[in-house]
């Protein structure tokens, strides 16, 4: 019984709840089609957990997570295409005469290397970019613009690599028509369901990692960096190192989200990794509440769900809704939906004040405190 009421247990209640929803409820009531859509949203939620860490705790406005998402996605996509083609053969979208592939493509033929690359490639790019910017004290809007420019450049790079004679990335058409995922037939609904469980499992693990980081001393230090980077410096830390850790972890999470996206959705194109999707990844986090643990997850799933539902009905309409949502949340609800409760409480207090109702008596501490401190110091 004691365990049930302990704070350690209550911290795990949301995890239990999420696990029940994802592993029991959703597969029980959703059709295969809807479940596949939810799996896709979960991929974005995995990215969102990382953004919550870098932006919510660390204050880094990561407008270019599409790059890391894309690195993970293309690593997985190339692996699956090479796997489908069979040993020693080139993927079906490349020219039929292709008899040699460059090493950087050939390496994705190996499953273990691909899995390592999904995490390490985004992490390495984030490490270089993070150190190059944070060490130079580039931050705020400048960092956001820089990371967004990187997303644009990355999408372009994939298109360019596809338009050359080798057609390594299949350009704007992207990678699609996958047949198998690590030996499992993707046409089998059981395997599709397994992919959903995989995404759900990864999401819970990512949230758990984020939770541990947030509650650790590092998490406190990261929030201190967001609050006042200079002060952290004068305490003997290099804030660049503190921030780059969160940025690298966020990038690795985005890579994992991207890698899961490919077998679940069945296609990855430069359109999925550029500027617009990078912003879309951020909007869910902003709406859900960037400073909270579960806010980014709920926001990302909610926005992705709204996007596919609304764009099924009014295809042209969604962009405006997305923009409006973003503006409303940033302007009126900077803490996201997670802060709705306290905003309403404050608004009520303000309303009561206006109507002349007695507010709660102010706590008379000041004088006591002064004498208290004075006697002790």
């Amino acid at each position: 019984m004691k365990f049930l009421t302990s704070s350690r247990f209550s911290a795990f209640v949301p995890f239990l709840l999420a696990a029940v929803v994802l592993f029991v409820l959703a597969p029980g009531i959703l059709s295969d089609f809807r479940l596949n859509l939810l799996a896709r949203y979960l991929c974005f939620a995995i990215v969102a957990v990382g953004i919550g860490l870098a932006w919510g705790s660390g204050g880094m406005l990561t407008l270019g997570q599409g790059v890391f998402f894309g690195l993970g996605a293309y690593a997985m996509g190339l692996h699956m295409k090479l796997d489908d083609a069979g040993p020693g053969r080139a993927p079906d979208y490349m020219p039929p005469t292709t008899d040699w592939l460059p090493g950087w493509i050939e390496m994705f033929r190996s499953g273990p290397i691909t899995i390592a690359a999904i995490v390490l490639l985004p992490a390495a790019v984030a490490l270089v970019l993070g150190l190059a910017t944070f060490k130079r004290k580039v931050r705020g809007a400048y960092f956001a613009i820089l990371s967004q420019a990187l997303a644009a450049a990355f999408a372009l790079l994939i298109i360019v690599l596809g338009s050359q004679s080798g057609n390594y990335t299949n350009g704007t058409n992207g990678l699609s028509n996958f047949r198998s995922f690590f030996g499992y037939d993707l046409n089998d609904p059981v395997n599709q369901r397994m992919l959903f469980y995989l995404a759900a499992g990864f999401l819970l693990v990512m949230v758990f990692i984020a939770r541990q980081l947030r509650n650790s001393r590092y998490g406190e230090l990261l929030r201190a960096c967001q609050s006042s980077e200079e002060r952290v410096r004068f305490l003997g830390y290099d804030p660049a190192n503190v921030k780059v850790v969160a940025y690298v972890i966020a990038a690795a999470m985005a890579g994992i989200g991207g890698a899961l996206f490919v077998p679940i959705v069945g296609i990855i194109t430069p359109m999925d990794v550029g500027v617009a999707p990078s912003i879309a990844m951020l909007i869910g986090v902003a709406i859900g509440g960037r400073g909270t643990l579960w806010g980014p997850v709920i926001g990302a799933v909610g926005v992705a769900w709204a996007q596919s539902t609304l764009s099924e009905q009014f295809p042209a309409f969604w962009t405006y809704v997305q923009g409006a949502l973003f503006i409303v949340v940033i302007a009126f609800l900077p803490g996201g939906l997670a802060s709705l409760g306290s905003v309403i409480r404050n608004a009520r207090g303000w309303w009561d004040d206006k109507r002349g109702r007695p507010a709660e008596p102010p706590v008379a501490v000041t004088d006591d405190l002064k004498t208290d401190v004075g006697s002790r110091v």
Partner: protein
Amino acid sequence: MATDYLEITDLTVSFDGFIAVDTVNLTVLKSDLRFLIGPNGAGKTTIIDAISGLVPSTGSIEFAGNHLQGKKVHKIARLGVGRTFQTSTVFEDLTVLQNLDIAAGAHRTPLTLLRRRSAVPEEVTAALETIGLTGQIDTLAGVLSHGQKQWLEIGMLLVQNAQLLLLDEPVAGMSHDERNATGELLQRISTERTVVIVEHDMDFMRSFAKSVTVLAAGKVLSEGSVAEVQADPRVQAVYLGTAAAAPTGAEI
């Protein structure tokens, strides 16, 4: 022990040709409580900025045998130099405990950082006692009163184990009682450390200074005990000269 002091030689700081600090020499020994005073624009804060690595300078700054110039801010902090700012810069959305714990942790290993704090570190408990914030341990620093924030800043310097404390107007905006409490606290702290205080409040300076350096237009004008400095005609001239502009600062 013998090297545990601050020695500044020919310190010059210029901003785009404007010389804010001009060949200043300054030696502050351990257990001294040195006040830097002078009219606005005398270069008091700039000297602190130069010591803590915030602005580039020429000349030589040495503390406890280490040359500080050219080192990065956080490297200088790790050498035992701590400072506060005119406006308090505590981490407002963290608690008092979290603020102090971060200040105490610059030498922690990555593994320790990735774990949760299991107990309040000893030095944090001691500092809480010293600054009188034991009761506010879980209060967000942002809701503390102005004076408490300043004390929290001093507490952060203590747990940081700074041996050279640079304080920029630590009692600005405090009530009379708070000032006295702060002054006594600083006197006690200074017995084991080197403390340099930039201050405009002359009453506060007279009550608590062990030694004073008067600056004017980037140069050292006078140096010595409070009585010596007060008797110096050059100091009187400078303060009388600015008396019309700043009558409250002139009553030295």
